[in-house]
Symmetry: C2
Subunit: 114 residues, 2 copies
Amino acid sequence: MGGCFLFTRLTRSPSKNCPIEASLNLIGSKWSFLIIRELMIDGTLRYSEIQRNLEGISPRTLSAKLKLLEQSNIISKKVYPEVPPRVEYSLTKFGEKLEPIFLELKNFGLTLQN
Amino acid sequence: MGGCFLFTRLTRSPSKNCPIEASLNLIGSKWSFLIIRELMIDGTLRYSEIQRNLEGISPRTLSAKLKLLEQSNIISKKVYPEVPPRVEYSLTKFGEKLEPIFLELKNFGLTLQN
DNA sequence: CCGGATCCCTTGTGATACTG
DNA sequence: CAGTATCACAAGGGATCCGG
């Protein structure tokens, strides 16, 4: 019903175990998506590189999102004991499993061009 | 580099034409995702049904997100001139193109169970 | 009686300045 | 360089109200 040809494959799991919601609880903000996108494209990035690529993000928000993503084991943080400090972020093996989502986001976005 | 096996397929388009960002500009909030999920599963829903299914959303936010999604042509709104009023929301053909994204969100969410 | 609009208050986010 | 501190504002939750 409703014209949704995939409804038999996309079901809402009973009471708070919905896998879609679980995914969104990990990555469900625009900045989180874009940070992950950066790391998918470039592999490893420093704090300032992410900040430069994501025009408009404030350092406060960037720190907060990086911390959340690290706690969720989606990205990993490597601190080099140098002066000046160097910190590199990259996707974990777990985080790389998000790539199909991003490819579909890209595919949809490409349909917006015309 | 970086261990991201799809990096050759997932590229950042030059300067503000990134299709991933374009997608996120349309649906990039948790509530928007969840409203769309509801309509993908059930096809057509009334305002109060969406509100009941999305435990925790406020009427203010629900109205705002519905309005945005309608303006983006992702959902359509049908008002029945009855008393008491009845308003039904459903995905547009365009909105149905988002389904692959949600299937991948579901697939990823299912890997979180263990 | 349903679909919102309005009000008030809390929480999140942006900009800028600043520090180890 | 990689963040934190601070302030101002926007977004969101919750209750209440109201026109059709």
